[in-house]
């Protein structure tokens, strides 16, 4: 049956609203990462720091499609974006990065260990491949309770070469657990490209070898990612079985702050290659699409930019004015 004009325009409204939110989220992630970089160089942030610039669609196309709380998320140390998408306040993320008591882990975790259980976020993990065996257990708990929830587990292309990942895949496939794997294929594991680390670079085949349905998806396009995520989530929620998405993308900056500072990235890629990928920028792409569909005007985009910058600024003010953790909390939380 053909849709009425009213129906079409209300669907349009929903699309417009949803995409505007996702656009805002991607801009927030980008601006947040840029400011974090600056704060690191002001020595307000220490430790390791891994940015998500260029990979925003992997988070914005998936996490907002989840039911939080209820569903669960696990990811790597490259985790600022995931926390923001889960709904952790930018202030609590920034405060964690600055090691403040008001941080999402009370200052004990830092950049690699953001966490927010109330929003279903079970944390970033500093160990390559580390979250994948954990996802098996989370998926098991969901199945055990008989709920329709899903565990989403992010990990990198480099992690595909960890033994534990394959043990977990096999068991997730064997027990048919409701886990969505998101392979963040940003082409490199530190200084090693996929072709230099991987004998069989068809990652989907590897998931399928363990009984997990999978597909490869363009991770530079939010709409495509969102569609794939919904397809995967539907499949998991209706069948209870796992799903695997390889999302192709690119990290614009060095692996981490060290790689940036030493320009170590010059040993494994050229500036031209980086620029070429930037032509496919997921934020610019979504903005173009939205403008073409009449969902967004340049003025509105500018306004969102401004609001986001204010939000990031507020998170910095919040973090910088927060106290350090109390010294006598050192021995708290070793045990429950």
């Amino acid at each position: 049956m053909a849709k009425t004009v009213a129906e079409r325009s209300s669907e349009d409204d929903i699309q417009r609203q949803q995409l505007t939110e996702l656009y805002r989220l991607m801009v927030l992630i980008r601006r947040f990462e840029e400011s974090v970089y600056q704060k690191f160089h002001e020595a307000k942030i220490g430790g390791y720091l891994h940015r998500y610039d260029g990979q925003e669609a992997l988070v914005a196309g998936v996490i907002p499609q989840l039911q939080l709380p209820g569903d669960y998320i696990l990811c790597t140390y490259r985790d600022h974006a995931h926390a923001l998408a889960c709904g952790t306040s930018p202030g609590a993320v920034m405060a964690e990065l600055m090691g403040r008591a008001t941080g999402c882990a009370g200052g004990k975790g830092g950049s690699m260990h953001l966490i927010d259980p109330e929003h279903g976020f079970l944390g970033g993990d500093g160990i390559v491949g580390g979250p994948v065996p954990v996802s098996l257990g989370v998926g098991f708990a969901i199945k055990y309770r008989g709920s329709k929830n899903v565990c989403v587990c992010y990990f990198g292309d480099g992690a595909m070469n960890q033994g534990g990942v394959h043990e977990a895949f096999n068991m997730v496939g064997l027990y048919k657990l409701p886990v969505l794997y998101i392979l963040e294929n940003n082409q490199f594991a530190m200084g090693t490209s996929v072709s230099r680390s991987t004998a069989q670079p068809d990652f989907v085949k590897k998931a399928e070898a363990h009984g997990i349905r999978g597909e490869q998806v363009d991770g530079m396009d939010l709409l495509i990612v969102r569609e794939a995520a919904n397809r995967a989530l539907d499949h998991i929620r209706t069948t209870g079985e796992p799903y695997f998405l390889e999302l192709n993308c690119y990290r614009y900056v060095g692996h981490g702050i060290g790689d940036d500072n030493t320009k170590g990235w010059q040993t494994y890629r050229t500036e031209d290659e980086v620029s070429e990928w930037k032509l496919r920028d997921p934020i610019a792409k979504l903005r173009d699409t939205m403008e073409a569909r009449g969902y967004l005007t340049p003025e509105q985009a500018e306004k969102i930019d401004k609001q986001v910058l204010e939000e990031v600024h507020a998170s910095i003010v919040f973090a910088e004015s927060s106290p350090e953790p109390a010294l006598d909390s050192l021995y708290d939380h070793v045990y429950s």
């Binding site: 882990a105 200052g107 004990k108 975790g109 500093g126 594991a189 680390s197 953790p325 050192l330 070793v334």
Partner: protein, 325 residues
């Protein structure tokens, strides 16, 4: 003598041993094309080629297996763990295979492998990346455990490790990579295992350290000297074998001892040294052995908490004063 940094001394040792023995090769994550995460292996791929400088995937079990198996088959691998925290992935290959094969085979197989990489705590790397776990390996029969403090020792001990027919755990300290020191020119400069060195003479209290713990001890000794307290500082250099002769000789003179380490205190190297001092020189001691160690917590990220969790020279100073009180 040439003056160089700790990490250059390690690179020099690897280079010399690779030149000396065609069976020596290195492997690990980003050791080749990327030139090493900490630049320890810079230039080696260009010099020795991809058969002898092997870039691996992020597969620690694979790295440990590559090294262990090739050592059993006659090569002399030097395997790098990007940091020792990641060796945890490979614990089975290390403990159940590399460490045991010689004994299990009744001595019929040797496993001349060196596992090396940076260890140590600090720089806000937090719980999963900032930890020191030497006692895990020292606890395991079959491993020799080496933790150099100076560039010269890093050089001579690593060369000895590569020449040794047993598996060697060689723990560098990322915080020492930039420190400078003189390294002998002799291409056969090796430092024998199980020989501690006295880094400073004193009569009032013996300070025992290894790796960056020696730095803590030397600074404490300096401070205490200005107050008229003379400490003897011993650098163990190797945890296994452990040179208790040097330690006992010193405590027989000072009658007091402080062990300083970065690793956790519970069931640690310091515990072992204290126990052995009691076994070997109980009647010589005028005060209980003090142990200065990392707080028994996963390393917190926040600067102030991290500072509270990592031992410093002022903790050593306070401990020495307690032994003298």
């Amino acid at each position: 003598m040439a003056t160089m940094r700790y990490l250059q001394a390690i690179r020099l040792a690897i280079t010399q041993e690779m030149e000396r023995d065609p069976n020596v090769f290195i492997c690990g994550e980003d050791v080749g094309q990327y030139q090493g995460t900490y630049r320890v292996t810079e230039g080696l791929l260009q010099k020795f080629g991809p058969m002898r400088v092997v870039d691996t995937p992020i597969s620690e079990i694979g790295i440990a297996g590559l090294a262990t198996g090739s050592a059993m088959a006659g090569l002399r691998p030097v395997a790098e763990f990007m940091t020792w925290s990641f060796a945890l992935e490979a614990m089975d290959q290390l403990v159940n295979h590399a460490a045991k094969i010689t004994y299990m085979s009744g001595g019929r197989i040797h496993c001349p492998v060196v596992f090396r990489g940076p260890a140590g705590v600090g720089t806000q790397l937090s719980a999963q990346h900032s930890q020191s776990m030497e006692s895990w390996y020292a606890h395991t029969p079959g491993f020799k455990v080496v933790m150099p403090y100076t560039p010269a020792d890093a050089h001579g001990l690593l060369k000895q490790a590569i020449r040794d027919d047993s598996p060697v755990i060689f723990m560098e300290h990322a915080g020492l990579y930039g420190t400078q020191g003189d390294v002998p020119d002799d291409p056969d400069h090796v430092v024998e295992f199980g020989k501690a060195v006295v880094r400073r003479k004193g009569k009032d209290c013996t300070l025992i350290g290894y790796s960056r713990g020696v730095h803590m001890c030397l600074r404490a000794a300096e401070t205490l000297a200005s107050e008229g307290i003379e400490c003897e500082v011993i650098d163990l250099r190797t945890i296994v074998p452990l040179d208790m002769d040097t330690v006992v000789e010193s405590v027989c003179k000072t009658h007091r001892a402080v062990v300083a380490q970065e690793e956790w205190r519970n069931v640690s190297v310091g515990s072992e040294i204290a126990a052995r001092i009691y076994e070997m020189a109980f009647d010589q001691m005028d005060a209980p052995v003090e142990r200065i160690a990392g707080a028994d917590v996963p390393m917190p990220y926040a600067k102030n908490l991290e500072r509270a969790a990592i031992p410093t020279d002022s903790d050593v100073v306070a401990a020495v004063k307690r032994t003298l009180a």
